[in-house]
Symmetry: C2
Subunit: 247 residues, 2 copies
């Protein structure tokens, strides 16, 4: 389950609890306290981290890799309801059980805190509680933005929306801007993309081919994507050019 730290201190700064919730305004002692109780867990691609309904005795954040939140109906229909990229927070302080499966979509490293000590710390540290509310509001915005995608967009727009999110997140992680071409590896299988977009994997494949044929994206192999013109992609996604996706 738990494991030794596998990251250097500099890599660890990706952990939002450490550098986003406990920011410059906070006392060093509090940061120190978080340092003491944190631990790392790694997962392999495909591994389920938490099953829906399970007790969830930790909170944490993604250090590297991608995790997804997934809901499944009895007959097997599944819908991904969230995508956790590096620095995203996982956990529900004050809640006992997970309301959906959390699955490692790629190999994954998480920085975790046992829930109880974290909640105690949160109760004593208004800044952490405040930062957590901020993050939850961000997630709520992203979820609602996604409701528009699921409810009203065409398959082509859905694909473009997803690529646009991943491209933008990639650009911000690598500190590059959105003006030049953006290059990244798709971290999701066609099936996972379908589950996120409320489509079938065949439709995903067809629409990716179509976007490629129309020059909106370039594909090298099955996963390596180049977006020559981010504005064009966002147009295809049906977003206003300035776009407000958050995820």
């Amino acid at each position: 389950m738990s494991s030794q730290p596998q990251l250097s201190h500099s890599e660890c700064s990706d952990c939002p609890i450490r550098h986003r919730a406990v920011c410059a305004r906070c006392e060093p002692q509090e940061l120190g306290e978080l340092e003491v109780i944190k631990y790392y867990r790694s997962f392999e691609a495909g591994q389920t981290i938490i099953w829906s309904g399970d007790q969830m005795n930790f909170v944490g954040s993604v250090v590297s890799g991608i995790a997804s939140l997934t809901q499944t109906m009895e007959d097997g229909r599944t819908q991904m309801v969230g995508l956790l990229l590096p620095s995203d927070f996982v956990g529900r302080p004050g809640r006992e059980n997970a309301p959906y499966d959390v699955v490692a979509t790629t190999d994954l490293v998480m920085c975790c805190f046992r829930k109880k000590p974290f909640e105690d710390l949160m109760a004593r540290t208004p800044h952490i509680a405040h930062r957590l509310l901020e993050m939850t509001l961000d997630e709520l915005d992203a979820a609602r933005e996604w409701m528009l995608v699921l409810g009203r967009k065409t398959a082509r727009e859905k694909i473009a929306s997803l690529l646009s999110i991943i491209a933008r997140r990639d650009a911000s992680l690598t500190k590059r801007g959105l003006s030049g071409p953006i290059v990244f590896d798709l971290p999701l299988t066609r099936e996972a993309m379908a589950d996120y977009l409320g489509l079938t994997l065949e439709t995903v494949s067809r629409q990716i081919s179509a976007l490629k044929k129309d020059g909106v994206i370039h594909l090298e192999g099955k996963r390596h994507v180049t977006v020559p013109d981010m504005g064009r992609l966002m147009e295809e996604a049906g977003d206003d050019a300035d776009g407000g996706f958050l995820v």
Copy 2:
């Protein structure tokens, strides 16, 4: 804009800031402080309370009536991303602008607080901050539950899901259980239902007719609904019988 209190003190207890955020654990002074700064606003059906992008200088909660959160694309496609029933909270402490339109779906009364004093109070009162995180997590759960509805359910299941939410909320408001038949008035037009479900109003109408023909619901006029068997309705919605909808 603002208006005199139009409710007796007993009616006012519907305001969650007052009886949910400031609960028995909190000091009476804090409750008093909220009493002092609160005010009421009423809206007519169809009136837009806040436009997407507008500055939002208050927070509050629905006292009576129904409001909806709506996103619109440039070409006019709209998706409702949230339904605010009595006692639901509106507002985003720490955020400047509204990310979507808030519209009064029926005649509506809200209990409001100017944002700044409310935020100050929140900073001084951990219980309010904590309660707000709770409510935001509830909204997040509801939004994600709805993503499954939008992404993977059939039109019939979507209608059943919506009726099921409204029926359950009605049953809990009127303190009746879910065992007997449930009777309520639909607070939404067919078009509003369509916008919530990612359907057209014609499909909504057809599916309601179908559920009526099959005896899942009874209709008197266009809005007055009787659900003879809540279990049957939830089956139609594709939920597990114990169901976890929150909205």
